[in-house]
Amino acid sequence: MSRRVAVTGVGQSKQAKRREVSIGAMVREAVTEAMADAELTFADIDAVVLSKTPDLFDGVMNPELYLADAMGAVGLPVTRVFTGGSVGGHAAIFGAHLVQAGLAERVLVVAYSKESEGNFTWALSRGLPFSAPLGAGAGGHFAPVIREYIRRSGAPEHIGWQVAVNHRLNAVRNPYAHVHRPDITVEEVRDSRMLWDPIRYLESCPSSDGSCAIVVTGEEHAGHTPRPSAWIHGMAWRTETGHFAGRDEVNPVAGQQCAADAYRQAGIDDPAAQVDVAELYIPYSWYEPIWLENIGLAEVGGGWKLVEDGRTMFDGALPVNPSGGVLSGNPTGATGLLRFAEAALQVRGLAGEHQVDARRAIGHAMGGASQFHALWVVGSEKPEAAW
């Protein structure tokens, strides 16, 4: 029997090209906001978890040491969680596991990337004897997967344009988002530059600087602040290797199993009907239908129809990324935690202008070549039983 766990504090920095602050100062922005939200001081924190992409990306080795002051971590156990773009989701779950296991009462989970200080394309393009030097970059990896999805599902090409518009219009409601394009249209997305056919410029995420932090506590400590808690109803991570014979990267088995496990914990048997809002890791617009299907919010082959019918728009039945999502800001090391934190804000009723009507929300993160998957279900009400 384990404990009920809740998120009681959320903080984030503005996502942008942040040349006016150091990495430490940018991290501190989110930490300060999360601690104030939870109404705690550093003396209340038992452990700190840091989420970060590879050191190579912005050139600081062992940032968990460099950032000890910024995170208030001096004298505390610090764990660096390390996957791909999903890392923030894994860090949130790891922090919750510490509380659930009774190893800590209150955990501060911190995440950041400062992409303007490094060179991602270079860091992602190191030569290895097993791969030819293709000069494809991140989009060059995901674009063929998207083409395969389109072919399998028979989706019309405007689906990708519509998702790009939906998320950018949502971002206008989120002051922390990097990209603000209140006048964006489907035609503008359609006519934007082709990068990796079939991915166009406006169907792609930006490269951002930004940070995020959350406070996770056991149930004895939740509910003692004026602001409501987000209760964790289910959480799971799954990983598959990027290279195994018979692998399906359009609908990875690890993603399916990750979601199924979290739903089982949360007592969800019909996720599309029982979840009110989803914050999904969508770096390219077509990943909205791809993930809707992968995590069981739509039938296989039918994810694009939810987009077509407007169900995933801000005022739809299942809003996806009311924050504007990854397409509107992508500080990669923090992006996963931002999804998890935005889900928590929604069920706490603290999402501001991008608040939707939500009692139960999904936070989702993906990393690598769709190898790493993390997902949690959070709710406004305390779960009936700890799982």
């Binding site: 040349r19 030097p133 494809a136 970059g137 395969e148 530059r193 082709m194 990796w196 079939p198 195994f244």
Partner: protein, 155 residues
């Protein structure tokens, strides 16, 4: 009034010693001889190219290596359509996931000697190897893949 210092570039480089291991070494040595060496898992009958030592599904050691001819089909692809620093080829060019016949894995490589708009999923392709003096223990030994025609029909 002097401008504040906002950035200070500090480029660095690092050299790695890559240890391929006994399993992967078979594949890399094969490339230097224009041979694509694959291995099969006796547990799930899946074929790996390049082969590791153990099956990622079954975690059992793969069977002895055997050669594939490298012909296969385009599983899916993208067209890199914009210039960026460090690019070796002028865009547009095709980067494809190629499923070699007899393999359960895909190779990512260039598809050339065809206009990008004529590339399609299911297109039959074959490897184009570099000349003898350029052969190496790396995938650079395959310059690119190109369409192959079996009496006009796709494989």
């Amino acid at each position: 009034m002097t401008e504040p210092i906002t950035t200070m570039p500090s480029p660095f480089r690092m050299d790695y010693t890559y240890v391929a291991g006994t399993g992967r070494s078979v594949f890399l040595r094969g490339l230097a001889e224009r041979r694509l060496m694959a291995r099969c898992c006796a547990g799930c009958e899946q074929v790996y190219l390049p082969p590791p030592e153990f099956c990622s599904r079954c975690l059992r050691e793969l069977e002895p290596p055997f050669e594939l001819d490298g012909r296969g089909v385009v599983s899916t692809f993208c067209v890199v359509s914009f210039p960026f620093p460090g690019q070796r080829i002028d865009p547009p060019y095709v980067v494809a996931h190629i499923q070699p016949h007899g393999a359960g894995t895909r190779l990512m490589h260039l598809v050339r000697e065809v206009e990008p708009e004529d590339v399609h999923i299911g297109m039959a392709v074959e490897p184009v190897w570099v000349s003898d003096d350029e052969l190496d223990t790396s995938l650079l030994s395959i310059r690119h893949f190109r369409p192959v025609h079996y009496g006009g029909a796709d494989a």
